[in-house]
């Protein structure tokens, strides 16, 4: 009886010293990320891969919008905030930002459509229903099918803010959810116009889908112009921290910016940041 008890105490002590050793090796085993719902799916994928490489580490990803990402990172509620836009001047003073990808949006039309470019005013007029025939912008005599995004999608918000439109002004003939649905609809309708994530459109183009990306302000819509920030309708996806990152947070940020996650970035239809990799791919 007595011996059993000693054994039990000894083993408990052994186990607890072991765990103590373990936790002292890695000071932090849990990271919390909160913020943008655009970045969250990408961050969760990155977190999964990071956890697989670092056993014992747990990364918790919660959505709630870019403003929550900034607020939580600033107040210390989250170790890292997720933001899907450029930081405002007063924010850049308080926070450190680490871009992990870019997201570009371009208008697309069917490959059969003879129209090769549209001015910003023309795009605005088309989406407001003031131009409703392709003839008015140099195309065939056919009514324009206007494809808009569903309420709440970040692609919609970016599009609206770039063209200074209100969603209630838009006269859409089709409302879509994800990029794939927009691409499929444009591919099946020679008179349709939509706007989708450039990454998604490019990967569909490679598979021979009959669509055409239109330039904005004369800048070609492709991964390269998004990467070097010359394409006007794009935004960075970022992770932000308040103090200079250290330990596990730094490890994760380095990992999220490294080439090890480029396939994840591309699978989410975003554009990876270093042009070197894109060049080898193209």
């Amino acid at each position: 009886m007595n011996r059993n008890l000693t054994f039990l105490v000894a083993s408990i002590a052994a186990v607890s010293t072991l765990t103590a050793c373990n936790s002292s090796n890695k000071q932090l085993t849990k990271l919390t990320l909160t913020g943008s719902s655009t970045v969250a799916p990408l961050a969760s994928e990155m977190a999964k891969r990071f956890e697989a490489k670092h056993p014992g580490v747990r990364i918790d990803v919660q959505t709630g919008g870019s403003s929550r990402g900034i607020a939580d990172a600033e107040s210390g509620v989250a170790d890292i905030g997720m933001v899907s836009r450029s930081l405002k001047p007063n924010e850049t003073q308080k926070l450190q930002a680490f871009a992990i990808a870019r997201d570009g949006i371009s208008p697309i039309v069917n490959a059969k459509n003879p129209v090769n470019k549209l001015t910003n005013q023309q795009i605005v007029a088309i989406y407001q229903g003031k131009i409703n025939n392709w003839q008015q912008v140099g195309g065939k005599d056919a009514p324009i099918t206007v494809i808009n995004k569903a309420e709440g999608r970040s692609t919609l918000e970016l599009f609206l803010s770039y063209f200074k439109l209100e969603n209630s002004q838009i006269k859409a003939s089709v409302v879509i959810g994800d990029n794939q649905q927009g691409i499929k609809t444009v591919a099946g309708n020679p008179n349709a116009i939509a706007y989708v994530s450039i990454g998604a459109a490019e990967s569909e183009l490679k598979e021979g889908t009959p669509i055409k990306l239109l330039p904005i302000n004369g800048v070609e819509a492709n991964t390269k112009t998004v990467q070097n920030s010359t394409f006007p309708l794009s935004r960075p996806l970022m992770l932000v921290t308040k103090p200079a990152p250290s330990g596990l947070a730094k490890e994760f940020l380095d990992f999220a910016q490294s080439q090890q996650v480029y396939d994840l970035v591309e699978s989410q239809n975003f554009v990876p940041l270093t042009p070197k990799v894109a060049q080898t791919r193209n």
Partner: protein, 299 residues
Amino acid sequence: MTSLKVKTLFPLPRKLLKLETDDLLLWVLILLGAIAGAIILAIIAFLGIEALPVLQQVGIWRFFSDPSWNPASGSYNLTPMLWGTLLVTGGAVAIAAPIGILSAIFSHYYAPNWLATWYRRLIELLAGIPSVVYGFWGLVVLVPIINRLHPPGTSLLAGIVVLTIMILPTMTLVAEASFTEIPPEYLLGAASLGLSRWGTVWQIVLPTARSGLLAGLILQMGRAIGETMAVLMVCGNVVQVPDSLFAPMRTLTANIALEMAYALGNHRSALFVSGLALMAIVICLVIVTEVVSHPKIYD
């Protein structure tokens, strides 16, 4: 003699055993029934709890009186989507029900045996195809065809056509099942009265199978209301009451599927309200059919 012997040998255990199995079965059934009921109640409660914040803030009435559905800027009008759901469901059921019943009559009473067997296999196959496949077919084949007739192609009509094809097999299979349950004496009686084949079907089969046919109608209506992906892909999803068959429109289910991924706060809560509305429609449907069908099934 032998049975008496057995009875006297094991009088008590057998009785006990029988009681126990019966009791066990009873309790298992009660338990399963309670679980099923509890799940339904839990779903309604969950929908209610999630929808409560926005209902408290803006009230129920604004879901019918707001100028538009722009939840990001605080407008929550659900009526166009209610209409969309009812129109697309009603249209599909109106076409699918007669075709389904007629094709069941054909395979059950008119077709030669070998044809009926193949026909049935075909219908079963049709019932097993996932709805996304129908939706995808609609998007890449049907919508471009309608687009040539009257742009933009994604429309109420496309929704009705895809839904009709989807729910047709449900109707046919349930109708066939209810034909099989008709007592053979009825048919023998009809034959001895010298009724023609169509006369038998019209005057004996259809009235007798009425409750089964109604059940099939409800089942297919339920499937049509709940269908999401196919409708999402072919209907265009513009929030408006469609003014023609070629106008795009949005259903309640498509509304949830389209916006849930990015909805936060009141927007998210408003989507649960559209779920509640859907639930209310289904409950009304069940009540109506219960009232209509029940008293007169076998008179």
